[in-house]
Symmetry: C5
Subunit: 304 residues, 5 copies
Amino acid sequence: MTPRVKEILSWYESDNPGVRTNLARMLNHGTLAGTGRFVILPVDQGFEHGPARSFAPNPPGYDPHYHFQLAIDAGCNAYAAPLGFIEAGAATFAGEVPLILKLNSHESLLSDKDPISVQTGSVNDALRLGCCAIGYTIYPGSNLAGEMYEQIRDLAEEAKAAGLAVVIWSYPRGSSLSKDGETAMDVAAYAAQIAAQLGAHIIKVKLPTAHLEQDAARKVYEKEKIPVGTLSERVRHVVQSAFAGRRIVIFSGGAKTADAELLEQAKAIRDGGGFGSIMGRNAFQRPKADAVKLLHSIMDIYKS
Amino acid sequence: MTPRVKEILSWYESDNPGVRTNLARMLNHGTLAGTGRFVILPVDQGFEHGPARSFAPNPPGYDPHYHFQLAIDAGCNAYAAPLGFIEAGAATFAGEVPLILKLNSHESLLSDKDPISVQTGSVNDALRLGCCAIGYTIYPGSNLAGEMYEQIRDLAEEAKAAGLAVVIWSYPRGSSLSKDGETAMDVAAYAAQIAAQLGAHIIKVKLPTAHLEQDAARKVYEKEKIPVGTLSERVRHVVQSAFAGRRIVIFSGGAKTADAELLEQAKAIRDGGGFGSIMGRNAFQRPKADAVKLLHSIMDIYKS
Amino acid sequence: MTPRVKEILSWYESDNPGVRTNLARMLNHGTLAGTGRFVILPVDQGFEHGPARSFAPNPPGYDPHYHFQLAIDAGCNAYAAPLGFIEAGAATFAGEVPLILKLNSHESLLSDKDPISVQTGSVNDALRLGCCAIGYTIYPGSNLAGEMYEQIRDLAEEAKAAGLAVVIWSYPRGSSLSKDGETAMDVAAYAAQIAAQLGAHIIKVKLPTAHLEQDAARKVYEKEKIPVGTLSERVRHVVQSAFAGRRIVIFSGGAKTADAELLEQAKAIRDGGGFGSIMGRNAFQRPKADAVKLLHSIMDIYKS
Amino acid sequence: MTPRVKEILSWYESDNPGVRTNLARMLNHGTLAGTGRFVILPVDQGFEHGPARSFAPNPPGYDPHYHFQLAIDAGCNAYAAPLGFIEAGAATFAGEVPLILKLNSHESLLSDKDPISVQTGSVNDALRLGCCAIGYTIYPGSNLAGEMYEQIRDLAEEAKAAGLAVVIWSYPRGSSLSKDGETAMDVAAYAAQIAAQLGAHIIKVKLPTAHLEQDAARKVYEKEKIPVGTLSERVRHVVQSAFAGRRIVIFSGGAKTADAELLEQAKAIRDGGGFGSIMGRNAFQRPKADAVKLLHSIMDIYKS
Amino acid sequence: MTPRVKEILSWYESDNPGVRTNLARMLNHGTLAGTGRFVILPVDQGFEHGPARSFAPNPPGYDPHYHFQLAIDAGCNAYAAPLGFIEAGAATFAGEVPLILKLNSHESLLSDKDPISVQTGSVNDALRLGCCAIGYTIYPGSNLAGEMYEQIRDLAEEAKAAGLAVVIWSYPRGSSLSKDGETAMDVAAYAAQIAAQLGAHIIKVKLPTAHLEQDAARKVYEKEKIPVGTLSERVRHVVQSAFAGRRIVIFSGGAKTADAELLEQAKAIRDGGGFGSIMGRNAFQRPKADAVKLLHSIMDIYKS
């Protein structure tokens, strides 16, 4: 147990030993074991975007076993997916990689301005499948956000009592926000704060832009001269917004991005005090050897 | 236990022995026993379309006993129906054919753009009636799809814990989809993926056309040159979209169809790697002897 | 136990002895005991239409004891009413007539195009009050029909487990139907089918007209030449639509009708294979002696 | 135990001894003990109309202890109030006056055409606070009436099992009714019937006018020549509509009224066979000595 | 135990010793221990307004430990915050300051005319984190107020049974109210009454203006000449409206205010018989030493 892992675990002072053990399992697994940094492989795009959009660029990805093996080969800290994908491989790969069961999902056949992600797995599922954590998406800014807050509250209480860690994907969306607002600096910081206040152990947000969405917030950013000009400054502000760094915050990149940019993003995450990356499409939509190489390059940045 | 059945059962690696036993019961029953192929008789049209539209073309079908006997005489792997129909024959035909209790139903007196199928049976009903599986319909694309996803999630968790298999009818419908979109290639593949991610053991979809409904999907199909020109190619793509063939996918034909076309469809299902057919109106809306003959012709294709 | 009663009980093959016992209690009670026919007295109009519209034509009917005594004097198979009416007499008349506790009610102060009948009694109430059955109204065709289907499903499961019979009043209403459609032939047959599929032991529908409401159904009635010209033919088709006669179907007349017509209706019900009548306003809105006389005339028809 | 009290208790023939005991406690308490008549003090106006509108005319009424003492000093049969008011005095005045815990409340900050009164207390609260009964308001005619019917059904079942009496305030309101319709003769009678059918032991309605609201009802009132010209006739018809007098029906006057009129109303209630008054603002919005004097005058009428 | 504290505890006559013990813990903690006065530090603005708007003016406030220490250093009676903030420090500061777990939260990314604050913590959370009380916000006047009343009713019943005190933030908002109406005299008094009737032990309202919002109320204020011209008169009227002073009522100031005005407000609260202040942004948005100094100045006023 490295001092850094011990320090991180100390922040979760109200959690039982079961939760701390599962956080430690993820912190101490894979290439980044012991560093306090994370690279997580999430594969929920089959449900979120459809199978062809997700897996046709690299057809072995249609097979759920592929992603377990990719996470293992790359030395990721954890692999996250919905019920069906986890059920299809949890026994074959039992004990080889920490698992996060994604408990809610949203499909894109619907054209919904105020989205809601509905429950598709349970805490009991996570336990019977040997997972370390539950995952849950909230959409701050959606008219239906309150339903998701209440549902994750219920699930998080149940998960914590069972010794499972809680990972919240906090993705601002909804009719109250502009398209740019979904990744605005103030909104991203707010999204991190909401997830932290809801009791998340690990928070996943998108990398923010320098855009400021809300008038009331913009005035404060300008008056207090909060530095948000560079990506690393923005990462630092998001981490600050998640209890001054007392909660693990990891960042996602979104759609397919050039490798050079991904590496620059990782450097900014590292320099801004972020805890790492969660990388899906940029990992599984290329041949496995290439994906492992890319993920190792990113891990090298986090180790440096 | 044939090697093929053992192989299929191995895919359900997270399920308890009870579930695997019930899957085996269906795989090892009837004319196609041991082949890994399915022909299932579903009779929920009385609730879905009304009695006269369903049974007047072959009036013995008004009697629930008729369908049990038809499934037995034809050697179907299983017979699926709602509560009332199963209750009316489960004791008389106990042990003669695996039963799937359809747990939700939708009536067509309502003119609803965004349909929901409501719960009309329970897991306890399935257990007390000696069924091997529960069946449930989802309508991906309906504004009310989320309610159905959450309900089948609850029911599936309960069913799996009780050793019952879970069969999902995944029928895209709703105001977000065009009429052609309901059977579009991309939508059918997506529907299969959603059912698989929800934890279905057996997935039932309609045979898709070559139409592509969603812009974001069409770009991928064209860019990646996914072959969907022939029916067997489309079947193959749907099976691929259900975890690269790790889940049983069966296909329905829909309304009454010429026999020659039905046989062609069965060949395409077989050639595309599909696991079989679920055939209702084409079976029970003709005299029983004719129905048995047709079903045997289809089974012959699956055995070849 | 007459052969006919034994035959009828044999149709309920999935029910426990408790349910069959309560069905037998109704089949073997009163003037029609042993015949397999029913005349049931229902008095839920106080809630449904208001007290004056219901009882002013025969004021003794304001008193709940009146209706128990009427059902007893006339030799009805059962008396059905909501919670308040049953509570007000269940001890005084304990054991003198089988009781059906009507578990939901609808008031007519509201002007609702898509009605819902809400729960006003429970299975526990039925048990503590010594009832043989629960009663429940569904409105197929209402936008809120699904809520009622799910509620009666819950209640029916609970009732059956407790050995109570389940009686469903299936009354098509709602914005999807024309006024004529509420009693159309196709709709009435569909309503009987839905109640049967929901697991009802006894189904109550209105006597249908020859009108055909739904285009898709009309085509089938015309193509298959389903005979629906006479009232007895229409009764026969409704009974056929309730599992080819494997479920008890009884018919209501509705508002006050001339006696001669009521007797003609009873003959048509008898000739069409219907199981009897449920008669409220035509019974309790006249002096008791007259009512007993009328009910006996109807029973005479069913005995002949 | 007077013969009249014994007679009244005999009407509640399906209730357990606990409920009958609590009914007897109210019937045998205070100035009207043993007469079968009631004067109840209800103080829920603080929640319903706001504190100043309720208590500024007689400021000692801001103090919850005031109302307990008023009910005791006047010899009321019972005191009814919401959770906060009862909690604030139940220990000080334990055993001195029967208490009715009002379980739902409606605030008038909202401008709602179809009101709903929401649950603000529980059966467990009533038990731990030593109450004899629960109170609950329904708004027949509101689009949300069904929600209230289902809630009071749940609560009444729980209360009766625990030996508590059930008092229903039945106040027609909602977009289906005209303002005059809220106190129309037909509507008031209907409101009493609904409360009785829901299983209320004691029913509280407003004194009706001679107005007839619903066309279908008016025809019957006119055809059957139901006498509703005088207030006592209207009271008699409401009592008749509550199971021909087998349920206790009490009447409220509403807003502040001249004393002479209040006494006239009490005489009409008495002459029409009503069971008494529930009097709030006319009691607590004047000095206590005056209020006691008025209440005694009313009680004198009921004793005569 | 001072006589004043004993007196205050005597008002909670229906509460169990556990609740009274927790009220005593807050009354007997910090600088104002034993005086019957309160200064509470609430920090829920991170969730309500976002992190930068809340904490950028004094960045140490991003750290949840900061606020525990501030409450301790200033000698506040209690510290109130949502789940995440409490979890992040409850073990480090165990036993050093009474805690109030805020059980519901509202985010300001949404533009909602009729707001609802959703549940984000539970009674079990409050117990496992060592809290003395639960906190809950209601929005009287919102179309969704009823949902909050029913939720706090459930939570309060559970909390009281577990010996926790109940603090209600009563903030009028919603489409039925004008902006001025949210802090109007009549509305503030009504808000205090509603919280008291819901069973709150401690009520938090905003300092009211002399504006009168509702016509029906204005008539009474004018007719009865209720004195509301000065702030201390308005405080007195609010306290009167909370059961004539039998419930602890504390006041919030809202947004950042000049110190001189804050001290004037405290004097008015004291002179009007208020029980103290709940002060968030005016405390934590300045350097800690300044905040402690300000809070001590306010406490000095309450001690005088």
